[in-house]
């Protein structure tokens, strides 16, 4: 297929439909409205496609739960405050082992915050967000091409592990336009035995998160934990950029990683050997890959559009084997590569 120029939010919608998403429910919230509108416009043109504008983000997540139980590929989307509302349902999907995609186009917070790009929902996304002992696969795309590829990949992961998957981007990526090529989606693999479609003449099934017996509940928790370990072992994604000769490595994801790449070009023009480690899966975090890098690099700088959230995962991954600095711009501030380059230069000089 040819390259097309599309905005981030629309790309997510198109990738979802191409990969077989047939049920979308959502509630308008800036800066992700284009995605909801894209689904309204385009779901009606595909066979079996359903779009529902729900009365709330809570209703939206529970609608996709209903559709997911029937075996449909499902998606909902929102932005930060709306994702808080969806947490009840995300926890329920994890408990009931239901696949589905939740898109969070982050904005400034806490509270109503603002509608500008920010990365303050990393904790909420990667730590579970809702109640109980569970994990959510979290993918942090940095380009429009990745929005397309990783949305498709997200649907496959959700089916493979029967678990909710979050696409964590921000208002910048959602609104920007870039050329994109939609790849051919993989054929779906999802067993009918997990679907609830009426018992027919057979035995009835039920899907539930309620397990009153402590020993049974414990076993369910361990079963989920074993699944999360398999995901951790097999599904981490990351990118390394100019780390081969680097004296300092910036760790950043999403929009922050794009800014970091711009800063690195400037820094290298001035003779500073700086590279980038970009986690693409935020959970599971590419912990071992980052730790391996500390064999040759001792100076890391975490850059986030928050007051320091992924910073904790970087510290846990490096386990004290290297120095970890931090630069954060929360609240919807998006620094230019030139500004970031100045900050990085100071950290670079500090080392030796």
């Amino acid at each position: 297929m040819n390259k097309v120029l599309m905005s981030g939010n629309n790309i997510i919608g198109e990738a979802a439909i191409r990969t077989g998403c047939r049920f979308y429910a959502g509630y308008p919230i800036t800066p992700q409205n284009e995605l909801t509108e894209y689904m309204a416009e385009n779901m009606r043109n595909v066979e079996g496609g359903v779009f529902v504008q729900s009365e709330s983000e809570i209703a939206a997540i529970h609608m996709i739960i209903g559709a997911s139980t029937t075996g449909a590929r499902v998606m909902t989307s929102s932005s930060s405050p709306g994702i808080s509302l969806k947490q009840e349902g995300i926890s329920s999907m994890a408990a009931c082992e239901l696949p589905g995609i939740i898109v969070n186009i982050m904005r400034g917070g806490p509270g109503l915050g603002n509608i500008l790009p920010a990365q303050g929902d990393y904790f909420q996304a990667t730590r579970g967000g809702g109640h109980g002992d569970y994990r959510t696969i979290v993918i942090g795309p940095a380009t429009c091409q990745e929005l397309a590829d990783l949305t498709m990949h997200g649907f496959d992961l959700a089916d493979k592990y029967r678990t909710p998957v979050m696409i964590l981007a921000d208002g910048m990526i959602g609104q920007m336009m870039e050329p994109v090529i939609f790849k051919k989606p993989k054929p779906r693999e999802y067993s009918e035995k997990f679907m609830l479609r009426g018992a027919g003449t057979g035995k009835s099934k039920f899907i539930r998160g309620l397990i009153l017996d402590a020993i049974d509940m414990e076993e369910h928790n361990w079963k989920l934990a074993r699944k999360y370990q398999v995901i951790t072992d097999n599904e981490t994604l990351h990118e390394e950029y100019k780390t081969d000769d680097a004296d300092l490595v910036i760790v950043a994801y999403g929009t922050a990683a794009r800014i970091a790449k711009g800063a690195i070009k400037r820094l290298r023009d001035n003779g500073m050997r700086v590279g980038l480690f970009r986690p693409i899966t935020l959970w599971p975090f590419p912990e071992l890959k980052l730790r391996a890098l500390s064999n040759k690099v001792k100076n890391f700088l975490v850059f986030e559009m928050s007051t320091g959230q992924m910073l904790e995962d970087v510290r846990l991954a490096l386990q004290g084997y290297a120095d970890v600095g931090f630069h954060g711009r929360p609240g919807g501030v998006v620094p230019t590569p030139a500004v970031l380059a100045n900050v990085v230069a100071r950290h670079y000089e500090k080392k030796d």
Partner: protein, 257 residues
């Protein structure tokens, strides 16, 4: 040989109800199961039990079920029905589930005219959590969170679901019944059957409210509970058909074409 006049209906599992003696849930479960069998829809029915006393409904009613989070039944049912329009989808909800925490989900599913059926159990109290005030608790009724009686100035008034939902253009069939006497039980069954038939015929949103005794949390005997429904509860929540457009409603399929 003696003639068999009553037996367990096929879609009611051979399990012992966990409900308290005198509770209306077990009757309502049986009625739903009997209706499912009489309409021969067991194989195509998907039920959505709530959080609350009926949370274990999947242990009793022998159809495919997905348990909803508290109050979200109609949203979950919407997702199922929209994806599988030829299945029969019902949500079973209590008064806290429908009229408090899940009022928005229920109201808007009704307003969209989702072609689903809601069985709404109103026992004027929170049963599972131990007898706190429900949105349908009577004024002056004592509960564990209204120890002096529900105070209308502080706690507001009983929420009348049938009256409110029948105002919505999206709804087709709304009836309030009770199960406090054999005659009332028969009437409730007819209402439930009509509600499911409404859905089978593609006529849109149907809801049956059942005033249901809760002797444990009303702190009454079973017989007094049944009397209380007649003398007090049904004065606030009058029984009857609030809306029946099954005769005039076009099937959505026809309306759309």
């Amino acid at each position: 040989m003696a003639k068999k006049v009553f037996s367990r209906t096929k879609s009611l599992k051979e399990a012992v109800f966990h409900y308290c003696p005198g509770c209306g849930h077990s009757i309502a479960h049986r009625l739903v199961a009997e209706v499912i069998d009489e309409l021969d829809i067991r194989g195509i029915t998907i039920g959505v039990p709530p959080a609350g006393c009926a949370v274990l409904a999947f242990n009793y009613i022998d159809v495919d079920m997905i348990e909803a989070q508290h109050g979200r039944g109609p949203a979950t049912a919407t997702g199922i029905k929209r994806t599988l329009p030829d299945r029969i989808v019902f949500s079973y909800q209590g008064d806290g589930d429908l009229a408090a925490i899940g009022f928005a989900e229920s109201f808007h599913a009704a307003n969209r005219g989702e072609n689903i059926t809601v069985v709404f159990i109103n026992n004027a109290v929170y049963g599972m959590t131990g007898g706190q005030m429900a949105p349908t608790t009577m004024v002056d009724q004592k509960t564990t969170t209204t120890p002096g009686g529900r105070n209308k100035t502080l706690d507001g008034y009983p929420v009348k679901v049938c009256e409110i939902f029948s105002q919505l253009k999206g709804t087709t069939y709304i009836e309030r019944c009770t199960v406090n006497s054999p005659a009332a039980v028969n009437k409730a069954k007819k209402a439930i059957k009509k509600a499911f038939q409404c859905q089978i015929d593609g006529q849109g949103f149907s809801l049956v409210e059942i005033l249901s005794p809760c002797p444990t949390n009303w702190k009454m005997t079973s017989i007094d509970s049944c009397k209380w429904i007649d003398t007090v509860m049904s004065k606030e929540f009058p029984l009857g058909v609030f809306k029946d457009e099954t005769a005039v409603t076009k099937k959505p399929a026809e309306a759309a074409s």
